[in-house]
Symmetry: D4
Subunit: 225 residues, 8 copies
């Protein structure tokens, strides 16, 4: 195969895995970074035809516009950088998923989690800006959090909130370190290490800023079989 200038688009590329919903319970998710408009369109056409609900993460507004060309029903959540086709709004979970953020700056990650959980068939309860520097804010809402089936906690800086939440309730806690902070936060590393070493048992962790992954796991936990 000889590539000549300008023909880079001719190379073989992504083949959507339409069997994934059957195997994993939800359609293949489109990870947008680095995808060209042509690639996005090709994937979207296949997935939109095969599934009721489809999610695209880390989407720029331009990429969302490409997806909306394929199906006008695509919603775009700018803060969460999420585009989604949400045709089937049946709730499939045993209960609600709580999405908690420590600070205002963590909200985009929390929203990525919330948008993901919704499109996968879960009811979401948002509790934002309840970080440990004012611990009464989260203590006051303990019963509300306990009433949910799963709890996602997004926090940057030292990432202490999941430890506090994990010590208050009996539900599974998924901690999402965010890249919020500066200096020795090392783009979320401090929060990540803090969460991995949480003295509160029952806390599991996902990658930095990975609100999507937390919600995907939470949805599996919440899902009625």
């Amino acid at each position: 195969m000889t590539l000549t200038p300008g023909h880079a688009e001719g190379i073989p590329h992504c083949v959507p895995d339409t069997e994934r919903e059957g195997r994993l319970g939800f359609a293949e998710v489109i990870y947008c970074p680095g995808k060209t408009p042509a690639q996005l369109r090709a994937v979207a056409e296949v997935l939109f035809a095969a599934h009721a609900n489809v999610l695209a993460t880390r989407a720029t507004p331009e990429q969302a516009a490409v997806l909306r060309e394929v199906d006008a029903g695509v919603e775009y959540h700018e803060l969460a950088r999420v585009a989604r086709l949400h045709r089937d709004r049946t709730l499939r979970g045993r209960g609600e998923i709580a999405v908690i953020s420590a600070g205002t700056t963590d909200i985009p990650v929390a929203e990525e989690a919330a948008c993901t959980a919704e499109v996968m068939g879960n009811a979401v309860r948002r509790l934002y800006d309840v970080g440990v520097a004012g611990i009464h804010r989260v203590l006051r809402r303990r019963d509300e959090i306990e009433s949910c089936e799963v709890v996602i906690v997004c926090a940057g800086m030292e990432g202490a909130l999941p430890s506090v939440v994990g010590g208050l309730i009996s539900r599974p806690v998924i901690a999402v370190p965010t890249s919020v902070g500066y200096g020795a936060s090392f783009q979320g590393l401090a929060a990540l290490l803090g969460m991995l070493n949480s003295c509160a048992p029952g806390v599991t962790v996902v990658n930095i800023d990975n609100g999507f992954g937390a919600a995907y796991a939470a949805s599996r936990i919440n899902c009625r079989r």
Copy 2:
């Protein structure tokens, strides 16, 4: 307060938190490293009186012996370094918890997970030595894994097994990086980073060698309310 030589034992120390079972669903767990026999005994007396089931992790055989002096019913699992008082054997989960290990050397961590899950009221299904270098071993047991409620996957070296398992089934997967490996494994760091970056969605992660934490989270997920 004046400390004089030899009186170090007089300092204030651990006060068991007997309210924890009510709040979190399970009694306070005894983390053994650094605890003196006197401290262990003091804690055990309070906890054994207050709860049917009690768990002690990272226990040396000597520490297990101290605990057995408090209650002869204490079992010790040397491989898992777990001592436990397991008086109430009621199963409380909706289904089984699968505990998978990639290699033989990961088994101590897997056993810590299994022993923890059991004492918390869960049925455990062990699948050991099914690492990715012989991928057919795990593929053949896909349905068995899917039948469980939650899946714990312990792996060292590159920690690739949770990605493979996470791409095969629809259940929550908790990945446990182990410190098995050498050189650039950096005592489990390679496996930890691999699992945090898993391309399979729905995977959450706990600290290196933290079989206990994985099982505690799995038990919360499996638990019938």
Copy 3:
């Protein structure tokens, strides 16, 4: 030597090593970053005169244009950021080189490998978007991969694909970690560490995003003496 403002171009610079083809089997490769147009032109004039095939890596479109001014036969592969003079198209290998990518986003690195392998006289077989989250995609193509002489596997995130491939076939596997991922991928570090710790024997590793280096090594392996 006194430098005055504006005379920076007068300093001594790169002297192409035209003996390298005799010694190493292929002409000196032009590493473009940081090279000025004048430097590029000077090098290209010497190398294009001395060798049939010449490769330039990490080339911007502007740098490729400079090279094409020296010889209009220069091809530019934008995705791969590779410019090459490919006058001698004789195949010199014992067989094909497989170039595998885990995801769509890894394709630029895979293409750098493929373009390099081709200009060094190898037939290339591309298998793209066959990552471990849908393991059946690579399992189905096991025999096709086994039929090649050498296998290059490009993967980002946790970098698990080389372990799976290395456990399926008997051919040498060269793993290329890519910087695809975010958060705790640390720009490819997670994939790099994963590949270095692969539990599948026979896997060797090159630098992050170094498709060129992987193909150069693969070509040495494939080369008939």
Copy 4:
């Protein structure tokens, strides 16, 4: 100078800085690791003659015995690994210094802080085993902590306790990360980073396990001029 085998003791060594008390407010502190008995004795003789109170940190029982040979009044605190000559027991502070530990395993570091603060003329209030997994333990003692002049908080694992304390009170908080933990705690690095990134303002940090340094700083803060 020619060293011959066996004469290593003849090399020039430590010259105690007896002006330090005048300049810094407290006598030079003896850092024991690596000091030979002869070196320890030489330093102790000079310092014990010049100052009422002298502190030696990280002392082994054997090193403490050497110091006690120089002055029988030396106390040794095994848990804290501190030896001290505490002849002048005048309290010089404006109030008490609180020393808080998150867990039982952090007590040796907390005791190093407490012993240091005492020998420097401060009253110490100890609050041990009040970590964030049972947050009510520290909340209940808020007023007691607020009543102190300075607060030292020792915590390992994720090191979240200083953030909680710093958000509850108006006094200066000095955070001491401890090396308690395993895996991704990296011998206290996780706690250190957590504390440096605390979302609670007014928290400053010292080196891992450096109870001594925290108390020295606290004593400077508490000191009446």
Copy 5:
């Protein structure tokens, strides 16, 4: 809750914690990065109504302008990136806070500290450009520094100045590593590690470039009860 494109502003966000002044001694501080104009305005309206003095850190000129729309009395310190409402200029400290910078390039961090200390009711003494490469500069001003109640030392590169200052005086020293430097300074990591390992006792440390945090702690120390 269904988010549609453009309605991201509808999500729940920051709720100012107006009880913080009573609890911690100073109003909640506005951390500007990532805050939208609407969020900033909402927070400022609440805080400006409840408190005489309010501080906003890491503010861009645009963000400062938003705050000034809420109250024309807001001052903006461009070098320090600090906006502040400074209505109550009562001095509340026992003495002055010294703010020292090693080099000219560290001044923005030093100014963040100085502006913070002032708005919290402290008199500030600035000593800039007195780094260790010309050690006489700081030695000459020893008595001036000793006369202050607390000393903040800002330094980048190797961060050696706090060790020198800490060995000269008897006052508490708060060290602020700055991100000034290049190469192996790793954006302030070298200075941070240096300060944490200071051989001068009594030095505590805050996050890289965290002039704000240093001053907040210094103000707590200086504060008359």
Copy 6:
């Protein structure tokens, strides 16, 4: 399954993968660390029955003795920590594999490579102690190295030797960083990074001290189909 004290041996363990020789070209290799005598014996019995040649790496003398109980033909190479059953001594390669060590201290790693290569059917040429501080030593043997099919280069400290070798010859070079060195070698990290960044093309890298992996890859390269 209920584990009681002392019954840890009853847990499921390693199941040898006897299909591996057909799939990968060589029998499953026994990685000895952490394996109990019972586990070793069980694995060895299966593998020794199924294959002519079997390799065990990182074996202690005690572990080697256990293997020799299973088959008296087991050889043990103490320096290389390798035990092997080497019944079929047919050479299967197209040529020789060169194993080069930079220093004397790197020889154990080089020997692990050499012993592995031999048991897999390759002729090995050893060139030891030819590091770059005396560059003439390797330059004099250039033709001898070029005559081999594949070249393994083991080096610690700065790991520069593979770059020099890679620039001299046209054969594939596999670099093995060793943990030889101290201080900022960080147990082989410096050598590993150096080799990954080699300016000589055609160099691939394996894990620190992984002589086995280098030889396994070299054997795949050398192997006649």
Copy 7:
């Protein structure tokens, strides 16, 4: 926009240390990053009046123009980012300083070294593009290098050249790691670690890209007393 309280433009700033030439042998060097035009001008006026030769490093063209406004004799070397006033061209060294670069991309760092050495009174011999991938290039010039008094070697990627040079000659070698490379070079960290671990004795190292520091040290070495 006018800054008020704090008088940020009025704040004390850099006070040139004109005693430095007497103490250290060369005038204070102006480190340009972060300096405002006003600060630069103020410093330059003092230094240009006090010294014959003055050096400014990491200068942008705009900053060089400011310096030239103070004295039209200022030369600017764009590649080296160096501005210098070089009025006294007396040679003060015992011999020449060799400045060697491994690749073309390392030349800016090498030029910073060369320009610094010249303005400090040294004759400079430049040898560029002689990296280890073509080892004959540096071997051929061994005697020329040996004839110099001091040798500066600039290299990126794996940084192997100083080891080779250090093993060929008897003169002091100062190694300068450059940030040239990608992936696991981590902006010069790989080269830095390689040079610190050089197996060739007599090699000392400076910070990444610190051509200035290397030349300053070389000038001290070369200087006749």
Copy 8:
């Protein structure tokens, strides 16, 4: 135990490079770690026959005894872990080499430097225990240090002493970070980074604890041609 194929005791090993003295100015130095008695003896016999002075570093007492069996004139310096044959005591330098240590615990590294410098023909001036916490100690000896030709400064913890010394004198300064410290000193990493980022120009750095390398470089600098 019988080693067979490969003849591991018969394997080729270290070949002393007796040309090194002519090329580099001093005989090959014996790096002892990992060398067997047989290897040590073989090397020593060749080197002791060829050179008047020979140095062995990092030698255990047992290894020193082996060397003394080869030549009874071998001296062993236990603190420095150095064994040396020092037959020719001619001084070859232009002046003295100063060896400075910050603390008592740094003396072993300083002694390795001093012993190395002496055996290479240099006069050594030792100044120990003059760290920055009592800055007057080094200031008082400024002229004594300036009188030397080269200055070696050994320091652990934050490694600030070379910056202070480098700012006081006009001679070349070689900084040796030591592994003295704990916690965030990371075995000398903090001191290493501090020294690489020294704000005092003219400071070059060697590996952690590498007193030998510092002295070797200092001797090259001091050497009369």
